[in-house]
């Protein structure tokens, strides 16, 4: 590595258990600042488990995991923004788009602090970045699937994190939202943000990511998208998805 100091995430022989079995083992990879790592693999390959471990939601059972220079659970509040795959939330919760995005600021505020002009500005800019400004005062139950996804990404951006984790943000969203999300991610990366993102969309990995990792309980391939595609593992996964229908990459 040319810039070892600019590592945002470093995993060495990482083992993560989920419900008592090793969902992921022997995972070694690095994500630098200003770099987007794409993670692909069949269902149950440990993609979400990996993100949860980096987010500090699961504690590794083995190996080493260094996130932003320390262990995920020792990070200051607000350092990691995580957009989970399935938002198992109550859509009748009394909140507007603005209210939900504003939650992104909560981890940064002490209880005696009222939200400042900077906080409100961060919320407004995040809503604007995902193109939801006209719907800012709308109740969250009145949003389409794509709009809901944009709101959760906006909440993550409003947090102004040092690391962004996205779990299949493009699954089930319309083409317009897909492209909008890609622009947002590339924008953040251009400004130095490290991003880890899982995806089912295997067609445009070169446009999304700087590095690609193929996962199936362990790392099968890791490198630039071109390298991984040439290595053939990626083709194997594609073949696997064709025959087993685990991945939906064709619309």
């Amino acid at each position: 590595m040319t810039q070892p100091s600019a590592e945002a995430v470093r995993a060495t022989d990482l083992v993560v258990q989920y419900d008592g079995f090793a969902a992921l083992s022997g995972a070694t990879f690095t994500v630098h600042y200003g770099e987007a790592l794409g993670i692909v693999g069949p269902n149950g390959s440990g993609k979400s488990t990996l993100l949860k471990a980096v987010a500090g939601l699961l504690v590794p059972a083995g190996g080493e995991l260094c996130v932003l220079g320390t262990s995920p659970r020792k990070l200051p509040p607000g350092a990691i923004a995580y957009v989970p795959q399935v938002e198992a939330i109550d859509w009748t919760f009394p909140a507007t788009v603005w209210d939900v995005v504003a939650m992104g600021r909560f981890s940064r505020l002490k209880f005696w602090q009222f939200s400042s002009a900077h906080d409100r500005d961060a919320v407004a800019r995040a809503i604007d970045a995902v193109g939801m400004t006209p719907l800012a005062q709308r109740h969250i139950s009145q949003l389409s699937g794509g709009q809901q996804q944009r709101v959760f990404v906006a909440r993550a951006i409003a947090q102004e994190p040092s690391l962004l984790l996205l779990d299949e943000p493009t699954t089930g969203v319309d083409a317009k939202t897909d492209e909008a999300l890609r622009c947002i991610v590339r924008d953040l990366v251009a400004n130095g943000m490290p991003v880890l993102m899982t995806t089912h969309d295997l067609d445009r990995v070169g446009e999304w990511f700087d590095r690609l990792m193929v996962l199936d309980r362990t790392v099968l391939a890791y490198g630039t998208p071109d390298e991984v595609v040439q290595a053939g593992t990626y083709a194997g996964i594609r073949e696997h998805t064709h025959t087993h229908g685990h991945l939906r990459y064709d619309k």
């Binding site: 509040p77 923004a81 919760f93 909440r155």
Partner: protein
């Protein structure tokens, strides 16, 4: 005007009204979290469980409220622990623990030769019996709960809405849940004397549920819930004075009426919106 102020001629009525304001505010604010976290069952559970504490305190000659509070908090934290560690659904956990603790209370009481009549008042509550010391305890517990809610306000909202993402952002979801359960236990103890074990759950659920019918944002819901809560407790106490009815039952009935009015308003609004939309 004289008739309106008549109840205030008595010290015990003054205390009852002060207690009513505390109880109404506290329950309805905590009720907002109870409704949104779908913990309606928990008020019932903790209140019944606290019965064991009351009986143990009675048998040992200790303060009932302290006994009730200790058992209520232990049960609340136990519910959180069994739920999280055992991966058992919350309603099952509450169902098991609260019936267990309630049965313990009845078991201990049934082994006594002379049944204590005043234990009855814990089942149905008697806000008119709130003494000066009770009022002090109500004020202190209310202050503790209010302070904790202010300190944890954003964590409570975020973890209620989206605990996993909140946790990833650095908010401690687990700790917040345990603290919320403990605060609920204290709130229930505060309300116990006013409305009793059987009806306490209503004060935690009904005002917030009524407010939920009328608003689609969190802060207005909490404010409206607080208004409904105080109107229910103070108004119910007033009504019970003139009707000669049980204060606890009147308070809960008034809250129920408010809920149905709120529901009616919501339905009417939806109907009007549909009509104007159809045009």
């Amino acid at each position: 005007m004289g008739a309106l102020l008549a109840p205030f001629h008595y010290d015990f009525m003054q205390r009852a009204f002060i207690a009513a304001v505390f109880v109404g505010l506290l329950c309805s604010v905590m009720g907002t979290f109870v409704i949104l976290r779908k913990l309606s069952f928990i008020g019932d559970g903790i209140a019944h469980a606290s019965f064991a504490g009351i009986v143990i305190a009675y048998l040992r000659g200790l303060n009932y409220n302290v006994g009730a509070a200790i058992v209520a908090v232990i049960t609340a934290l136990g519910i959180g622990f069994v739920h999280r560690r055992g991966k058992i659904s919350l309603d099952t956990t509450i169902g098991v623990l609260f019936t267990g603790a309630f049965a313990l209370g009845i078991f201990l009481m049934s082994r006594q030769q002379n049944y204590a009549v005043d234990l009855q008042s814990f089942l149905f509550g008697d806000i008119l019996a709130v003494g000066p010391n009770d009022l002090k305890m109500i004020a202190v517990l209310s202050a503790i709960v209010a302070l904790a809610v202010v300190v944890l306000f954003r964590s409570l909202i975020y973890t209620t809405f989206d605990p996993v993402v909140a946790q990833a952002s650095g908010i401690r979801s687990g700790v917040t849940e345990y603290v919320l359960l403990a605060l609920l236990a204290l709130t229930i103890i505060v309300a116990l004397q006013s409305v009793g074990i059987i009806l306490v759950a209503a004060l935690l659920v009904t005002p917030a549920a009524a407010a939920y019918q009328l608003t689609s944002r969190f802060m207005p819901m909490m404010r409206l819930s607080a208004i409904f809560g105080v109107v229910s407790t103070v108004g119910g106490l007033y009504l019970s004075y003139y009707l000669g009815s049980s204060s606890g039952a009147t308070i809960v009935l008034l809250a129920t009426v408010l809920f149905f009015i709120a529901m009616g308003v919501k339905q009417t609004r939806a109907l009007l919106a549909r009509r104007s939309g159809a045009r």
